[in-house]
């Protein structure tokens, strides 16, 4: 479980995250949705500690991450896996070396055990025979899957995904979404996903938080989202003509 209490973050005089309080449950896929520039990525980077917050508290379980020293944060980070928007795979490393990297850095496993674990993680994301390839030789969807494999290599308790299906075709997006959902339930992780893709919301959104201009406007489940009377949320959710038609049909 991850809990945010009154998080505020600003850059110079501009408040980007404005007093957000929310609880993300474990074993669930928690989605943060909002327009581009609404503060989703900044919020995610605050939660993982890439940005220091101005005020408020971030709890990982019962541990107050926002008040920890560097070494304590480092220990928490070993329980975190993150899938970046572009994959963030190390260009100079092969797929196998990328997935093995956290194992090399933080475990004393033998080389055989590490290779077994890498193969298991790659199998888990349904990638085979790509271990010797470099990231530049992979498609966008494959990069995302390798990134997920690397994120789960150390059996993390927390998984963060920043726009995991941006730049992917709808079919591959659904594959990635379902993969994240399966892994979350299988390992009982607390998963937080940043997205503005409504298909993802409808596929895997156990819990959805909508932010607008740095403020939390709404939270609920994917089933509630069509029945909310909030202008900002409705403008976002029903932005396309197709979704407007679906809404009309649903309301009939």
């Amino acid at each position: 479980m991850i809990e945010l209490q009154n998080i505020v973050k600003s850059f110079a005089d501009r408040v980007v995250i404005d007093d957000i309080t929310v609880k993300f449950e474990e074993g669930k896929t928690n989605l943060i949705i909002g327009q581009s520039g609404s503060g989703k990525t900044v919020l995610l980077k605050c939660i993982v500690g890439l940005f220091d917050i101005d005020s408020g508290h971030i709890f990982y379980g019962t541990d107050d991450f926002s008040n920890m020293d560097f070494m304590a944060k480092k220990e928490i980070r070993k329980q975190i896996g993150m899938v970046f928007q572009g994959g963030a795979l190390f260009d100079s490393h092969t797929v196998q070396e990328n997935v093995m990297f956290p194992l090399d850095m933080f475990t004393n496993m033998s080389i055989r055990q590490r290779i077994e674990r890498v193969n298991f993680c790659l199998d888990r994301v349904r990638l085979e025979k790509v271990g010797k390839l470099y990231p530049s030789e992979l498609s966008g969807g494959m990069k995302k899957r390798v990134s997920i494999a690397r994120a789960i290599a150390l059996n993390p308790k927390y998984l963060f995904c920043d726009e995991p299906n941006s730049g992917l075709d709808p079919q591959t997006s659904i594959v990635i979404d379902n993969l994240i959902k399966e892994i979350t339930e299988e390992y009982n992780m607390t998963t937080i996903i940043n997205t503005h893709d409504m298909n993802s919301v409808m596929e895997i959104g156990d819990m959805v938080v909508f932010i607008y201009q740095g403020k939390k406007i709404w939270e609920g489940t994917k089933d509630d989202i069509f029945h909310v009377d909030n202008k900002y949320l409705n403008d976002f959710v029903f932005a396309s003509p197709l979704s407007k038609r679906i809404r009309k049909l649903a309301n009939k």
Binding site: K45, V48, L50, M82, F90, S92, P102
Partner: protein, 249 residues
């Protein structure tokens, strides 16, 4: 405003260096990176250093011979002047400036690209000291291997001078060797190597600073790369003056 910018960067540079020299998470991985950097920053520079040194040695010899026309100058002075120019200045300072261009831009663009493609963020989130893991092996590799490049440059530069001198007939092999050995001070080599080690640290650390702190997109990475070369070169020239004053006074 300029001063504020300058002090800001100096402060940030030292903060970065304090992270770079923090205790490594796993020595074995750092050692593996160190070996990669030896190849990338050192061995891959052997060719360019050899070519430039050979031509510079040759040019210094011809220019010196041109200046020393007339019976009052013994011919071995051509070799002596070429030797001192190469040992004292060319193989340490000039080679460092060349490496600032080649290695400095490579380091800044590599780290800058890693920064904007979130690879550095990925390391941080894993709990890895990204500054230490990425920069320390580069500094160690350059400090370890650049003296080898300097010694190679000295050898090839002097050989280039001998080759062009004898081929053009401005000096004989005997005169050249006599000039090389005449009043040879081995401290010149120590002086050049000390400068090389300091310059290696400057090239890698300053370039890493600009690459590591890059932000934005491809244009910013290009700008960081340019800044890395310019500021490395300026700092090298400043320290060249300081070290020369300290070591040769």
């Amino acid at each position: 405003m300029i001063n504020k910018g300058l002090f800001y960067h100096i402060g940030q540079y030292f903060i970065l260096m304090s992270k770079v020299f923090a205790k490594p998470e796993k020595h074995k991985l750092y050692y593996k990176q160190f070996l990669r950097e030896i190849e990338s920053l050192g061995i891959n520079s052997l060719g360019i250093i050899a070519i430039i040194s050979a031509f510079m040695g040759a040019v210094i010899t011809i220019q010196t011979a041109y200046d020393m026309t007339g019976a009052m100058f013994p011919r071995y002075l051509i070799a002596l002047t070429a030797r001192d120019s190469i040992l004292l200045e060319f193989s340490s300072t000039m080679v460092a400036l060349i490496l600032a261009g080649k290695v400095g831009s490579s380091i800044a663009s590599e780290l800058g690209t890693m920064r904007i493609s979130e690879q550095i963020d990925a390391l941080e989130i894993m709990g890895v000291n990204s500054a230490g893991y990425l920069i320390l092996p580069k500094i160690a590799a350059a400090v370890f291997f650049n003296p080898v490049l300097t010694l190679l440059s000295m050898l090839v530069g002097i050989s280039g001078g001998w080759l062009i001198g004898t081929l053009t007939g401005v000096i004989t092999t005997e005169e050249y060797i006599y000039g090389l050995r005449w009043s040879l001070n081995s401290y010149y080599i120590t002086y050049a190597l000390v400068k090389t080690v300091v310059f290696a640290f400057i090239i890698t650390s300053v370039s890493s600073y600009y690459g590591y702190n890059a932000s934005g997109g491809a244009i910013e990475v290009g700008k960081s790369s340019t800044k890395a070369v310019v500021y490395s070169s300026v700092v090298i020239l400043m320290f060249n003056l300081i070290l020369t004053k300290l070591l040769l006074s």
